[in-house]
Symmetry: D2
Subunit: 306 residues, 4 copies
């Protein structure tokens, strides 16, 4: 019932759970489209709202412009029509982001996720970020979702910039990966009149985020435990908070392991264990050491997942 | 019913809301015991679980050993017996903390709140912190509550150290002020077999903390909006999450203002506006500038509190 | 005499001062090759060792692959043959860096400067960085210079990784922009047997860096006060430390202003004041506000430069 | 000649090298005055300018008020009259610092070293710090030296505050432990008209600091390698920079080892190896593990000191 009620019209409704999918590489570090397609087919059968393609877990900074677009095109071809493709189109410069956004839309993206430019982080204040996102949203053929991921960018979009940007008709939400739930609550509070949608950027604080008004999550862990993250969403939406909490507890350590503790290589390793194709990482990312793989396994098994 | 059900027996039950009370000073920067007593009398009439005396908001690092103990003694004299006094007894050295803990217990504290020593933060690893807290808890006449406040200490007690310490029979909980709700959930999860109690260290993330298993809060804002914070607790405990969330939203900006944005001077200024005695701060803390006071007022008024 | 004594043979000698040149843009944000060429002609007449093209001040993350290569090609065409072109060829992935390095060499670069990949900074440990730089250096047709700039990357190459990499026959030095002179001294100390060359990454600590064994500098300020930075080098090399110190003092505030305080927009503004073409920045970088420009001017004029 | 030329008159001349002495404890963690006295007698025979008593390496936050004063009194009794005693008198509150300063002066301190108060670091801006230090200097019977040690305090005194305070007749200098030599140079530059003296806070960047105008050092390593640090000073003062650099290199790793890498416990361990009394640390500081002690030894032996 819930899922059906969601319609992705003019002002895109982006509520729900999305795995930010990994990009499998072959042993020569080329994109392994075959494996990618098989993963997407599996995700297509789950109660996910859609897929984030080219989020941080997709190793997008390691892909060429052509690869980025082609991956999105292939995913869109395979994914059932009722699932959304949210494509990461952020680049460092505004003009490159504008162009990438157009290409992503042409490749079939339903929305774009635009990470904060960050190389000149000392100058990426509200003025610069509002200008950047406004330019991108003005020209984007599809709705724009802001993407705040301080662990990778060393930068937080200031709350006042988010509030300003929430008033843009083509900016529909924010993926907030920082884990500061007070900030999430404040953003929900200050953007209410705009029907602005906040997605938690991690499964680690999904229940807390729902408790303060988030409407979904982009969760690396959903690449591995997709049904469980969807179940967590369902428990929150139906007000079964006690059960939600119990499930939440068991997801934190596996989630930490595939994100900040061991990163993309761990996500890909865990995907192999759970029946997906992780494949190689592109260098300079290295595969896990034996000891790391052992700890990763322990983080899943001690919580009853392996 | 809830409050009555709580009993503070051998294994102290510390659930509930506590303001970490301010220490009013006279214009010559002496402790103003008269004003202190009047504040405590007002707090005594609210559905608070008790008071934290000598938390960070109490300017404890600015008090002499004698003043610290005397403030606790006076508060205990005035506060109704069914309210708990949780006294901050943390010092940099283990031996000073042990002694202060004993003095606090003698002065009537029901429990002690022990902040992490932090001057040599580079060496305050799990080994050092487990040793410190174990020594303190071994000799303390009253239950010990760990106190993690990275904004002041530049240090997080590692989760593994908290888990180890949760097994000590005289360590009953943790006040977590860092605002990382994933960490709070993980600590609740990993200490479940110990009946270890986690208190949120701020009103800013109280709903989220309850959602993941915290059982109370030590909230600076409760010095000013004590009834509202108690109401927030009640809404969480009774499962009225939607109402809780609405109230939560309106507390975030006032809370930020009296904590990280403007600090103790703002807390004391707001106390004056709401009918309490804030009094002066001790130097080197300075009173708010005109512009800061104006912003502080705006943070309350824009949320409907002034 | 000094400059002539330097020969750039098999094991490239990179000693000396380099401005990391700015990339002037037109008002439509296209590369303004005409202005670029005019700047380079001016720099060509100074006692600089060469130019760094596509350092952080060159807004390289905002250029396309084609633009990056073309800028290097044009600079090489115009710059006198006895001056070195050190081209920034760093990308996030190893494979892109390998390709860019080859393109830069073909475009005429005498050496490449390879910034640390940083998006997945949590995983960019010694193992990953040694692998990355080794791959790049193995295939590079020209000598490789490591580039550590934590203000932009949020990452420091570990000293042990630098020591390991210094043993590679095609890695000749390090541009260290972090400003930690103890680290610079330690790196010089631990790489002595390798004839590894350390360049200070800023004019702000050039004298201190020379005092502990650095052999040159890549200094944003040399875009504006090129002769003065060369004079500072000459004073250090000839042991006139007292005069060096006096000149050093007057360069710190202007240098801070065009780097961490106001960034590339300030560098370009100051270039205009001193007879060079700064041009526009590419978005999301914004031009200076009036107040910032005023402060920038003050930082130069109070030290006697304007 | 140099040493004799230094006179400590009205405007105290504090140039030279000082070890910030350790406080040896007995196995019951009491101050071991006997061992302290023996150490001081040895230091008294070296060409040190004096001793810093109660610096960070003296574990001052672990001492009671009475112990802090008594340690200074004993040191002054034993140390030859021509050596200075610079006593750490910093406390968190201004009033406690004022009182401690007076007690230190009465106990025989020639000058006081006042660390930045830091618990409320978010509010310790220029306004607060200028107020604090002005109050202390106004009432101090002896000259005041500012003490900036961000590794312990998480705080940097803003340069503008240092410049303002340098104009106070009773504030004669700054111990700068942060290691940012650009900052040191800038402070020397901006306080020149005040005859303000900057001391490097570590042996790791002593040569660089001298190169940009520092006039001495407070060096933990001088507790162990006192003659070598004095020799390093002499090489800098006599302009033998090449020799200075060579000696500097060999001191960096031992210095890092006894400071940020392993801290006070390592300093005390190394003191035992070099014929001094280190003694125990007070808890919560822990003794070195076997592995740490082994690494510490390696840091000395690989540089030819053991």
């Amino acid at each position: 019932a819930k899922a059906q009620a969601r319609s992705y019209g003019q002002r895109g409704d982006i509520r729900g759970v999305y795995p930010p999918i990994a990009t499998p590489f072959t042993c020569t570090e080329d994109v392994d489209f075959e494996k990618l397609v098989e993963n997407v087919q599996k995700y297509g059968k789950m109660p996910l709202r859609g897929l984030v393609v080219q989020g941080s877990n997709g190793e997008f900074p390691y892909l060429t412009v052509e690869e980025r677009v082609e991956v999105v095109r292939r995913v869109r071809q395979v994914l059932p029509k009722d699932k959304l493709v949210m494509a990461g189109s952020g680049c460092e410069s505004t003009r490159a982001t504008v162009q990438m956004t157009e290409q992503m839309a042409r490749a079939g993206a339903d929305a774009v996720l635009v990470v904060t430019p960050c190389f000149y982080r000392g100058r990426m204040d509200s003025r610069a970020l509002v200008h950047h996102y406004t330019q991108v949203a003005d020209s984007s053929p599809v709705p724009v979702v802001l993407y705040n991921v301080p662990a990778n960018t060393g930068l937080d979009i200031p709350v006042d910039a988010v509030v300003t940007l929430s008033q843009h008709p083509n900016i529909v939400g924010l993926k907030e990966s920082g884990g500061d739930v007070t900030r999430i609550a404040l953003i929900v509070h200050k953007t209410r009149s705009q029907d602005f949608q906040v997605l938690a950027g991690s499964a680690g604080f999904l229940v807390a985020a729902y408790a303060v008004g988030a409407v979904g999550g982009v969760c690396a862990l959903a690449n591995v435990l997709g049904r469980q993250v969807c179940q967590l969403e369902e428990l929150c939406l139906s007000g079964r908070w006690r059960e939600a909490r119990e499930l939440q507890y068991r997801l934190i350590e596996p989630n930490n392991a595939v994100t900040r503790k061991f990163g993309v290589a761990a996500l890909k390793q865990a995907m192999e264990w759970f029946g997906y194709h992780g494949g190689e990482c592109r260098a300079p990312l290295r595969p896990l050491s034996e000891a790391e793989a052992q700890q990763l396994r322990e983080d899943f098994s001690s919580n009853g997942w392996l």
